[in-house]
Chain length 189, copies 2
């Protein structure tokens, strides 16, 4: 892992989480990261798109680890899912509601306009869904229930983060996590 | 209601739903709507922001009516909520996954950068939440349950639409709607 490469990825990730893919230009990334133009194209020969693709992939891995960590910390799936929403709300609040949902804006911007970046977002959501589904499967939820439940959990994470940022309040995240926990309890095998 | 004014609002709404607020410039709106520059500033003296604010307000009303209509069509709240996700998936599919979640991209883009437009998005989400909460309250769900359930429903609508667009499949919407229906059945008063 090269420091300059990591610095460019981190800066891009921060900028795109706050303002989206379209609004983030290569020049702003260079300015904010302090990297010379040559180094950006050295590490990311295709420029903005290969850089963004790697940002999405790194984010996918980071969030997946975080989900698996919280799922491992709590035996009961309902408790674990509610706890994940609490840790998420902590991050969104700590960032003063300026970030949260690191790939959501990108996902919407590229869904119909950039096949390569859309595929990367699709893969990221798939990894997160699998991490929740694995927890449910391990606790005896049948496959035909575990996957749709995991889909709802990912949907709620995405949507409640948008509401939290819009309302500048963690309440939508807390409420969504608690209601999902009720659902997991009610459908416990 | 003036036709030219409506045409400008409609064009802006379409462009922003597909590509977001930042990527949509006044010149593109003029070009796509065929309106002369003077008429845009005549109807929307503050330019892009007052235009966007009215797009958000119109969208808020339109979606609220749609929610209330579907809630009125089905007596059982669980059936009604699942049916809303089915009608939503129909629209997203009909638009070839290029639109859906008409204010989501705007909401994320403006959350930390534009207080006026953020307030408009916040108000829109509030109206939609109230429409679902009213259905639950009318069927005896207590307030302390109806509002958090409505928050989860709105979160799931937002999030599942993002997943559907990313996956180019209605499956996340159908699955989320069905799981929410299970929750509403399990918590029925």
């Amino acid at each position: 892992m090269n420091n300059r490469r990591q610095e460019i990825l981190y800066t891009t990730s921060q900028l795109m989480e706050t303002q989206g893919y379209h609004a983030t230009g290569v020049n702003q990334i260079l300015e904010a990261s302090g990297a010379p133009k040559g180094s950006l194209y050295y590490y990311f020969p295709d420029g903005k798109d290969s850089l963004t693709e790697q940002v999405i992939q790194q984010t996918a891995e980071r969030i997946e680890s975080r989900i698996r960590l919280v799922m491992a910390e709590h035996d009961d799936p309902a408790t674990a899912v509610a706890a994940f929403f609490v840790t998420l709300s902590g991050s969104v609040e700590a960032a003063d509601y300026a970030s949260g949902g690191p790939i959501t804006t990108i996902a919407l911007e590229v869904a119909s306009t950039n096949e390569r970046l859309n595929a990367a977002c699709h893969a990221a959501y798939g990894r997160w869904q699998q991490a929740f589904a694995d927890k449910l499967l391990a606790h005896g939820y049948p496959e035909e229930s575990a996957y749709p439940l995991a889909t709802l959990i990912i949907s709620a994470i995405e949507g409640a983060t948008i509401l939290a940022r819009s309302q500048k309040s963690v309440r939508p995240l807390h409420e969504s996590g608690q209601q999902l926990a009720r659902l997991l309890e009610a459908t416990r095998p």
